[in-house]
Symmetry: C2
Subunit: 231 residues, 2 copies
Amino acid sequence: MTESTPVSRRARPAKAPLSRETIVAVGLRVLESEGMSALTMRRVARELDTGAASLYVYVDNRDDLLVAMVDSALAAVVYPTSGTWQEKVIAIVESQVAALTRHRGLAVASMGAIPASPNASLVGEHLVAALLESGVDKLTAAWGVDLIGLWASATAAEQTIYDERAANGLVEVDYLQRIDEFYGSLDPAVYPLIHSMREVMLGGSGDERAAWGLNVILNGIVAAPVPGDAI
Amino acid sequence: MTESTPVSRRARPAKAPLSRETIVAVGLRVLESEGMSALTMRRVARELDTGAASLYVYVDNRDDLLVAMVDSALAAVVYPTSGTWQEKVIAIVESQVAALTRHRGLAVASMGAIPASPNASLVGEHLVAALLESGVDKLTAAWGVDLIGLWASATAAEQTIYDERAANGLVEVDYLQRIDEFYGSLDPAVYPLIHSMREVMLGGSGDERAAWGLNVILNGIVAAPVPGDAI
DNA sequence: AGGTGAGAACGAACACTGTTCGTTACGATC
DNA sequence: GATCGTAACGAACAGTGTTCGTTCTCACCT
């Protein structure tokens, strides 16, 4: 009994009071430094020097916390004021992906989050504006933003999983080499193209491929027929 | 002690032996009917009339099981033999999305799964073949398959989350109406476009938007400059 | 000043989870 | 028929999210 002597924490002087913002901020910090599996209610509470039950005053449940964290993370997205519409879209989406990737695991959660949060809406607002600059009609712009958002979330999620794997000991070269070996081991009779194209399939850095993909989507959007008309 | 009398199950006649395939199949059945949160090791084991520990002979851990389930689900993808290259790609991707959507929650898991499983590779093989028919070079085809796969997983994941929400009582109209209300409640000074374009942003069925999105990507791919050249 | 009530904070508990351990039981081999 | 590798198993461990009932605090009112 010499070590614990649980002095009621209430007695401690000037403990910063809890708040939704504080909890979300701490959650993001934990997520960034220790990953999604470490983001437990108890872990967040411990960081705030309290118990898990106390969090439920400000947060409905863990999902609610995650959604709030997604929105908070998206506050870091920057919006360029000059440049062509393509440059604007690329800059916005790049910083969006970066914001989601920085906190490992958030991207997967963001896939579920409705775009109905303040900061997610702000991203949408600026993307629509940039797309409209290209001259497309409103419907194309609206659906285009949807498509871009889907791509951004998925790209961030993929990047996250990739990073997680790297953090778990599998270095990049090992990982690519393993896939290369797998492709090489496939029966050329069943998988002729994959077998023969494996070096071209695994080439290019993640950033190069991401930039190419976003470019493809942007080109496709401006070239797309108006939704509703004959496709 | 009158109620349990745990007769060793070994004594029961002709119990079908376990196997990796059986476990994966049961897992898919549970996932399809009860969703991801119900897919626990104990639940799968119970379905097989055994204990959770017994599964670990055939499955490394829950993630291993999920990856195997993704591959198994992708066995349902169909590959058309006739039609234009666009029709082939659309048919393949549609059945891929359907296969991932049918088992709620698999899509999210598939985002992490490397495309290094037999059936995922088969999808890739056929997609590359279809893309090459369009006349694009090998590098464009390879990266294009990547992009299409990313889109397919993300679309299935989004669809899954949407369905999950619908299953949890929120009917479709409620959900859309809620988003509409949220957009309407946004400050028009900060979100002018979203505020004024909300009906156009929420229009169209999920299928229409998905078809449009895939079309945009296909158009973008054939129009894209060869990766590596100046973008 | 003294009392009071709303609600934040809390500890303990519940019903679960994935996974491991040591032991039992079985079926093919010698 | 004895043996032995290994599949199958029950029990346990260290966690998880969440809820319950209680304690404490502090702004407000008499």
